[in-house]
Symmetry: C2
Subunit: 230 residues, 2 copies
């Protein structure tokens, strides 16, 4: 079947590095969804305001791979254990469709059509969206569900310090600053290439900035925040 | 993007009529998922046993339409009110992908590969499946979520009577009998074409049977169950 984008999502992640591994991990991370012209009519989202959450079916556009494997090593398991691709949410899968539930915070009606404001995103800026569906608690929420190996994972948040008040000196909004702190605390390093002896400088792009840091044990220190040349 | 089936789901609904409008409404409705040869290896589902629920991304194969509308009339609203296609789970949408969470009851390892046993299905027999993802409660379950117009809907179950004990006389399994009773009580009639004065005979296919009934008020009476010629 041929599927085509109906919308694009815009987020503060110009590149993959730093993006939380699942939707909702950093609720402060916001995004906006703009529809393609043929869907960009207020009636296409009529009735959506009453829903607090939506599903986004999106394109793992950074990860189109012909040569996926039947097993993957989820970052949640430290990259050490392998599980079946259908037992994971890995982007490396036969059909590159991501599934994320995000909070719908607002619907803005602009001249170019409705814009959905969402939070808790985990996509790179410009990701194609194939479908938006309302989150129906009765059907979609299973509080009794067992989450397999994901139930056993405890996130150890890093202790983020910003000795030079670099975040405060940026032009980021208050919410973006909070989001950035949380992204850092969630350890944005690749599980496959991380050293915690402070010897290595890591970096990722967030909104208009290049954020750099080091990690010593569980202490993350922001060393530099540079405005990117657009 | 081109997407291709990775599996097929087998259910007791040879045709669309009678299928519950969402996954999980009739938990007794079971199905089996068999993978295509290239994915039909035990390692493709390694680690899935610990999950109680899975997501199925599937093909609204009965509903491939070039000419969908930007608004739909959900059966849940009695077919009277129209909402935006992106505010509904309607099969008539730009990209014909269905999203259902079902309970994973067992993984059977056969010579032809793993078979997933699921319950709470809402697909027609033979539906192509594009992806299986584990249901991760931490990410996917939002107990506080507001379900918009779906929150206000109260299902009025029909009172099912089977005066001639026709269900008992079938060769259906105990679980299938329970499922059939519940499918009937959920009112399998089309919202667009239902009369409740007992004058009309309705029918649908369930497993190997053709089930016929009438409805008077909230009373559904089974009038005939005939074995279909395969």
């Amino acid at each position: 079947m041929e599927i085509n984008p109906i919308a694009y999502i815009h987020t503060d992640f110009p590149a993959k590095f730093g993006i939380p591994r699942q939707a909702g991990i950093v609720p402060e991370l916001t995004g906006t969804i703009t529809f393609l012209p043929q869907y960009s009519q207020p009636e296409a989202v009529r009735g959506l305001t009453g829903f607090s959450h939506i599903w986004i079916l999106w394109d793992f556009s950074l990860e189109h791979h012909e040569n996926y494997n039947l097993t993957v090593r989820p970052p949640r398991l430290g990259g050490k254990e392998s599980v079946g691709v259908f037992a994971s949410r890995s982007p490396f899968r036969p059909n590159s469709i991501g599934l994320s539930s995000v909070r719908l915070t607002d619907i803005e009606y602009t001249e170019k059509g409705p814009v959905l404001h969402v939070s808790g995103v985990d996509m790179v800026d410009g990701t194609p969206v194939y479908d938006i569906k309302p989150y129906i608690p009765y059907d979609d929420c299973h509080p009794e569900a067992k989450g397999g190996y994901t139930d056993e994972i405890t996130w150890e948040a890093l202790d983020v310090s910003d000795p030079e008040d670099l975040i405060e000196k940026t032009g980021l909004s208050c919410l973006q600053k909070q989001a950035l702190m949380k992204v850092l605390s969630q350890d944005p390093r690749s599980r496959f290439d991380s050293r915690s002896d402070g010897s290595r400088r890591y970096g990722f792009f967030f909104a208009d900035y290049d954020v750099r840091f080091t990690v010593t044990g569980i202490n993350l220190t922001i060393t530099e925040i540079v405005r990117r040349i657009q």
